[in-house]
Structures are given as C-alpha cells and as structure tokens.
C-alpha cells in the first residue's frame, strides 16, 4: 500500500469514525440495533450538499445535516416507542423511506460539489499543506465528537441513557420516561451519522443516494474491531476504541484491496465479503484465544 493510500485510509477512518461513535451509542449503549444509519448517512450528505450549492456556509450546512439526522432518528424511535414497532423493523422502515426522501432533497440521485467551498476551505490555516491538511481537519472533528460523546455519557442525562440500555425497569422506577431517552439517544446517534455523511460528501466532492449502503455493517465492524483490539471497559474506553476501530477497519480494507496473487486481485465490489470476514474474525478471535490459552 502506498503512503498516499495509507493516509487516505486513515482519513476515511476518521470521517466514518464519527458515524461509528453514533452506531456505538445505539448498538452498545442503548442496546437498540438501528439500521436507520444506512439512510441517515446519505441524508446528511444530501442536506449539506444542497445547502452548500444554495450558498450556505459549510458550518451551517453541517448543522442542517445534523438536524435532519436527528429528526430521522426521532422517527425511528417514535415508531418503536409510541407505536410499538420492533426496533429493527422500525429502523428499516425509516431507512427505506429515507431513500425516496434523499432523492427528493437532491432532486435527483446525486449532487456534485465541484467548485463549491467546503469545510476544508473554511478551516483556519493550520500551517500544514498537501495531503496532511484533510486528515488533520477531520481528525480534529472526529476527536471533538468523541470527546463530546464521552462528556455527554457522564452527565445526569447521559447516565439515564446508559441505564435505559442496561435496565429499563430500574430507570423507570427512578422516574425516567424511557421513551424520551430512546428518542433522544437514537436522534443523537443519527445526528452523528448525518454529520459523518455530510463530511464524506464534502470530502469526495459529491453526495450520492447510494453512498449509505452497508453503513451499519461498516459501523458494527468498526465497533467490534475496536472492542477486540482496545477493550470494552467503561464508556471512555469504549468511545475511544470505537474511533480507533474505525481507523483500523478502513486501513484493513485498504490493505485487503491491495492484495494481488498473480492474476487475482480484490475489487471494491468484494468489500462486503471482506467486511463480513473481518467481523467474523473479530468475533471469533476472543473465543479462540480462550481455547488456546487453556493449559
């Protein structure tokens, strides 16, 4: 793998890492498997792209994308809590609906951002140039989001979110309406995912309705890889592991795509297979480790 490709992979890991923090919040903290993300990632991309082409400031575009993501998450959570639809199904319904909505927002399947000023153009000059500037900007953003999540989960409200995922009967007996907490948590998660989508679109210069396919699997793979490599103890560790897991995942994918055996080489369409194998590997490793270390 070339130096350039390695930096590209780390950059992707940071960008999608924001999405992974969101997936961590629903999947691990709230115990709410949320497939909305396959729709809210392109939703964030679509909203921010349309906002940018209409002349909004890149930061405003990110804010609008996050608001849209939050609303999408709210819809899933409302379907689940108030209408008592199974969480998995509720999120699939929102995801499917978002496909149509995203095309409506963009007035087509994609929007190009060529010649439009994006986050990278408005960030203050950090004194670095060339292909180091993007990873630095996205790294700062990803770290800010991770720190925000760690802080939030240590607040009174954050503790209630943790308790809702752990023991709903307990936290209800402490006077918390778990419906409100689930709506807040899933909303927040999808706001993160939409932010990630918006940044991905700004980075690659286009928003596309199909860019969300497989987001949840990539997110879960990153969370699981992170846990396997960096441990699960505590919220702070969990959030950091999720971000690092995202980077490792993207680098691993880039490495796999670089493999060549004579005439055989992986193509980007093999990505889903590689991801599935990676997740299986990460899930099986601890079990095998236990077996091997037994005297």
């Amino acid at each position: 793998m070339s130096w350039y490709a390695a930096i590209g992979a780390v950059e992707q890991g940071l960008l999608y890492g924001i999405m992974v923090i969101g997936v961590y919040l629903t999947f691990r903290v709230l115990d709410f498997p949320d497939l909305t993300v396959d729709g809210s990632l392109p939703l964030g991309a679509a909203v921010s792209a349309v906002a940018l082409t209409h002349g909004f400031h890149p930061l405003t575009a990110l804010g609008l994308a996050m608001t849209a993501g939050f609303l999408a998450g709210m819809v899933t959570a409302l379907l689940n809590t108030k209408l008592q639809i199974l969480h998995l199904l509720a999120s699939i319904l929102t995801m499917i609906a978002l496909y149509s909505i995203n095309i409506r927002i963009m007035d087509g399947p994609n929007v190009s951002l060529l010649g439009v000023s994006t986050m990278l153009d408005v960030m203050p000059d950090l004194g670095v140039t060339g292909y180091w500037s993007a990873p630095l900007v996205f790294g700062l953003l990803a770290i800010s989001v991770t720190v925000f999540m760690i802080w939030f989960l240590h607040t009174e409200l954050g503790l209630a979110v943790l308790a809702t995922g752990d023991n709903a009967r307990m936290i209800t007996a402490q006077g918390v309406n778990t419906h409100h907490i689930i709506i807040l948590g899933v909303g927040l998660s999808n706001a993160m995912v939409a932010l990630s989508g918006a940044l991905v679109a700004q980075n690659q210069g286009a928003a596309d309705v199909n860019m969300g396919v497989g987001t949840i699997i990539a997110g879960l793979a990153s969370v699981i890889v992170g846990e396997t490599l960096f441990g699960r103890g505590g919220i702070t560790r969990g959030c950091i592991a999720a971000l690092l897991g995202s980077i490792v995942y993207r680098v691993a994918i880039a490495l796999a795509l670089g493999i060549k055996w004579g005439a055989f080489a992986f193509t980007p369409s093999d990505l889903n297979l590689i991801t599935a194998l990676l997740v299986v590997g990460a899930l099986v490793t601890p079990i095998l480790k236990k077996k091997w270390t037994r005297p």
Partner: protein
C-alpha cells in the same frame, strides 16, 4: 397518606384467560404506617403493589398518594414519590454501572436530569455515609461495577437507593425471597432499621408469616383479590402464626365450600 379506593385490576380482560386479580380493594395508610401484606399465590399482593407503583393501569378505582390523585399518572411520574425494591435483586440496579453511578441515578429520582456531571464530587461523602449503614464495606468500593456484587449486596444497595431521597411510600415486593436465609435475615433487619430511622410509610409483601408478624405495625391479608384481614397495633402484636393459618384456612375453606355447592 395513601388512599386506595375500589381498586379492581383485571388481566387478559375480555379473553378466555380473564383473571380478576384485585376486586374492589379499599386500603388507607396513615403516615408512618408499616404494613406487611400476606396471602397465598395469586392473592393479589404483588398486583396491589404494582398497581400503586403504576405498572398496571387500574381498571376501576382511584388512588391517592399524599393527597394527590395519581390514578392517571404513568409509572415514571409516580416514581417521584415512591421508593421500590423488587423481588429479583438484578432489577433494582444497573449491572454495567458503578455503585456511585447507580446511587447518583436514584439521587435524582423524580427530578429533571440535566447536563451537569452525573456523579458529583460533593455527593460522594453522602453516598459513603449511606452505604456505611449497611456494614458491607461498599463505601470503599464506590467505583466498583455493580455486576461484581452478590445478590444480597445488590439488594442491600437497592434498599439504600430506594430511600436516598426520602420516598412518600416505600414498596417492598418480596424483596428477600430470592436470597439465602442468612442474607434474607440481614436485608430484613436492615429494612426494619432504615424504615425506623426515616419513619417511612411502607408496604412490604412477604410469604413468611413470622416475618409479617415481626415487622410493621399493621398486617393485611389478601385472598382472591380481596382484603380478608386487616389488623394493627396491639391486636397485631397479640397475633400468632397459628391465628394467621386459621384465618387462611377459613378463607380457603369457604372458597372450597362454595365450589362444592356449585358443583353439587
């Protein structure tokens, strides 16, 4: 303090399995009353407690806690005035959170939760002080995960958490039934101690008649969704397990007799 009037609760209403768990129950508790609730399986003891806590919505009747009509309040809203300890020691606490995080959660019971720090430095001293009452050494393990504690330790912690903010009524639903005899006795003694110190209005469900006699100033026996015995004060003190058994069999006998009358 607590007023329950004409409380009727059905399960599976309208279906073939319809059960009338409670039938026109009236119960008034004065402030500081410690009521022990006994009765056979299916008598409606837990239903009465859960009904008051808001787990079920009453089919008929009205309930008041401290003068407020709470009949239409959902469970999480009633939690503001109710402390609860459950039969299953795993239900009262969060296993993945630390002791201090669990205590911080119940220290906000019924209040707005904001964005200030969840576990506050200034509360830790108070938490330690409260845990010292237990004599289990938990005050030195504030950061330990609750999942590491035994069932008895978790139940003791739940007991402290339920009374961290003084509840208007404390509901104990067979909270020693899942523990070994020694731990059960300790938790029960602790219950008596905490209720005594804080002068709490309490309802305790138990299967153990000796316990029901030893604790509290009032005893209520339920049978088939109705209150069949309600004694307090001196009268309760003079009651024996034999008296209770006699009452119990009389009630069952009547039911048996009426069944026979129906069949013959």
């Amino acid at each position: 303090m607590i007023r329950i009037e004409g409380y009727t609760q059905y399960f599976h209403r309208g279906g073939v399995n319809e059960i009338r768990a409670l039938d026109q129950v009236d119960l008034h508790l004065a402030k500081g009353d410690f009521v022990t609730l006994i009765g056979s399986n299916g008598a409606g003891k837990s239903t009465l407690l859960n009904g008051l806590a808001g787990v079920h919505r009453a089919d008929e009747g009205q309930m008041w806690i401290g003068g407020r009509n709470v009949t239409d309040w959902p469970e999480h809203r009633r939690a503001a005035c109710i402390g609860r300890v459950f039969q299953d020691p795993l239900v009262g606490t969060c296993a993945s959170l630390s002791i201090e995080q669990n205590m911080a959660l119940s220290f906000k019971r019924g209040q707005r939760r904001g964005l200030s720090l969840g576990v506050k430095q200034q509360d830790r001293g108070f938490f330690r002080e409260q845990l010292q009452i237990l004599g289990l050494g938990l005050e030195d393990r504030l950061k330990a995960s609750v999942g590491l504690l035994s069932g008895g330790q978790r139940q003791a912690l739940t007991m402290v958490m339920a009374t961290l903010i003084e509840p208007e009524v404390l509901l104990l639903d067979e909270h020693t039934a899942a523990l070994d005899p020694k731990t059960a006795r300790q938790i029960l003694e602790l219950t008596g101690q905490i209720v005594d110190i804080k002068q709490l209005t309490t309802m305790m469900v138990t299967h153990n008649m000796a316990q029901a006699l030893a604790y509290g100033n009032r005893l209520v026996m339920l049978h088939q969704g109705r209150i069949i015995l309600d004694v307090s004060g001196e009268e309760k003190k003079n009651l024996t397990v034999e008296d209770l058994l006699a009452q119990f069999y009389t009630a069952q006998g009547e039911a048996f007799a009426s069944d026979r009358a129906l069949l013959c």
